[in-house]
Amino acid sequence: MARPSVRVFHKLEGLFSIYKPPGVHWKLVRDTIETNLLKGINAAPPPAPRQRVQFLAESTSVVAEGSNELTLSAASVPALAHHPLVSGPDFQHIGVGVGHRLDVFSSGVLVLGVGQSNKALTDLYRSHVTRDYTLEGELGMATDNFSHTGRLIERTTYDHITRDKLERVLAMMQGSNQKALLTYSKVDMSTQGAYELAVKGELRPDGKSPPIMTGLRLLHFQPPHFTLEVQCLNETQRYLCRILHEVGLELRSTAVCKGVRRTRDGPFTIQHALTHQHWTSPDVIQAIRQYRSSRKASKAKHTQPGKDTGTTDHLC
């Protein structure tokens, strides 16, 4: 019979996503969540104290007779060695793993896994799932680390930039990324299978590849501010800030990144990500259950017409 704390721990073993706020290191987030989950696990009431039998001697008087009768009485005393104050809480550490990391400047969906599901997390990490980002940029400035918190290097004008020009530049970048994707996917372009994959948009790089953007779109343009939506693989947040900088350069001006926000990481969307007031064990258990049921529903939907979903099938 498992202890109540072990049962709660088994319920917590799964993948879930949280919303990381900007300005916080991902490790601090992971440590906070581990502490909160431990509180939930150890909150279960401790089991009844074990008893041990101790024999207490009661000797009767010896004075007159030669032999003395020694009677022993059995007393049941609590065995303190297993008391929670002596042995400590049941769980003092749990393994909480982090998926694709987010740096301090960015915010967004961060996938975490507990216990056994860290294996599924490594599979997710290594598989070629795409991620969605929303990048906010500002024209007219250039800094040393491509974001608005860095040291200012250059100021330029941006009056000549129109939406049309910006979209042309983005289309050009998307084209070059598409070519890179075709090269790294190592499929023979003259086959029917390759054509079908390309039509469905399921071409993925085979093995290691540099960061590739599979989709790039302008969401909002109001000079000097603009917002881009990006779908990419194998990226880092610093690379995305550099993309914005290059967009500025292509437009004969400069641009800095004001915010990087991840809205999707593989199958985890921002809709079900937990905000920081919900980083507690009951909310996490519910998030895990909800993700599992959504996976089951999507699998049922996909297996009906007889198609496979590519690389994300083996995730729990």
């Binding site: 919303y19 706020p21 900007p22 300005g23 916080v24 041990r52 001697a57 000797s59 032999s67 003395n68 009768e69 020694l70 022993l72 065995a79 303190l80 060695a81 008391h83 104050l85 002596v86 042995s87 400590g88 915010s107 926000r261 921002i270 990500a273 905000t275 920081h276 007031q277």
Partner: protein, 428 residues
Amino acid sequence: MALTCIQHCQRCTSLLRSRSVGITTLQYSTDAQHWPAALWNSFIVPVLPSLLQRSPNPSQTRQRWNLGVRSYCESHAKVQPSQTKHRNTDELPGTDMVSYQNPVSHQLIDGGMLLKEWQTAFDLDDAPGHSALEEISHEEAVRMDIPAALPPVSISLKDYVNESETLGKLVQLGVQLWKLEQRPNVGSMLLRLDFQTDVTPRLVFLKQLGVEDSRLGYLISHNPFILTESLENLQARVAYLRSKKFSAESVASMVSRAPYLLNFSVKRMDNRLGFYQQQLGLSAQKTRDVVARLPRLLCGSLETVKENLKICKLEMGFRENELQHIVTVIPKVLTANKRKLTQIFDYIHNTMNIPHDLIVKFPQVLNAKYLRIKERHLFLQYLDKAQYDPAKPNYICLDKLVSLPDEAFCTEVASATLKDFELFQKTM
């Protein structure tokens, strides 16, 4: 020979009984070199567990003593190698291994006269009378006391808690032994304490001071060294605090909230009280209030407080009287993290454009979390409600911005639902 042995044994037991101790790791001195080590072991090892089991009957102890001597004489070959190993580990300093040094054994070793008497009294050629296979009567078997198999050295107090009275009573008080055993040397120290002579007077002293029973466990879990501080020192420090006109209740509350308070000398406390009164420029009563609210001001280092005061005056630009007001309302500002304090002040003053006098009116904002202030301010800005000037209409009080829980903040201040606030948080 047996009679002199018994006399020596009685002397030993009386010495040892005066301080109940755990199992010893043996201390060898030059005097004992010519005494066969195994036989030395055989005298010490059987006695102590019987003491822990608190058998006050001297005749019984004597019988056990005799039996013990007989049984251990045969097992000396097994005992010796393990004892030497313990001796080696004993020399390692600073490990968190719980090892015991029987201070009374020093007396036994140093009392050269005792040794010499033993040497002459105990005849090595005398074969032991009983063998292990000998049949004994039922009463003798029942009377035979088997000492508990306590390990001489251990990394955890679990092994000793069943036998030790001190540890058992500490667990009943609510002391977290699992945390204390991780601190170096604390486990050994707790085991060496005698409950009647060491722990009880101090607990009685704390109770007389006014500390509640439920807080005693917390106090000892955080500061186990209060049990080794001498009673005269403790009384002198409490007398000093009373002489500085702290009321009895406030002294009790200070001691229960700052467990290390009574371990600091009178001179140090006096130094700190003087520093706070001088630097903050507050009256005696107000300084007392501040210290009573945050007693750890008297415990920690003054350097951090000096730096925090400098930051408030120079970097933030608060005037003397403004600083006094802030410290009387929120004493925690003196011990807050410098980086976080400047980050919050920078956001409030430069981004939210709140002037100094408004911050002084609501110093709680300096104590809040940066993320909370930022999220709530941006939410209000998104709803066009971020107006903190009391002169203009639709004024939002800073106190409400920071101290209300999320639900109340959304409904009262922002007139939006909690769901909207969460959706907004995900757009940040």
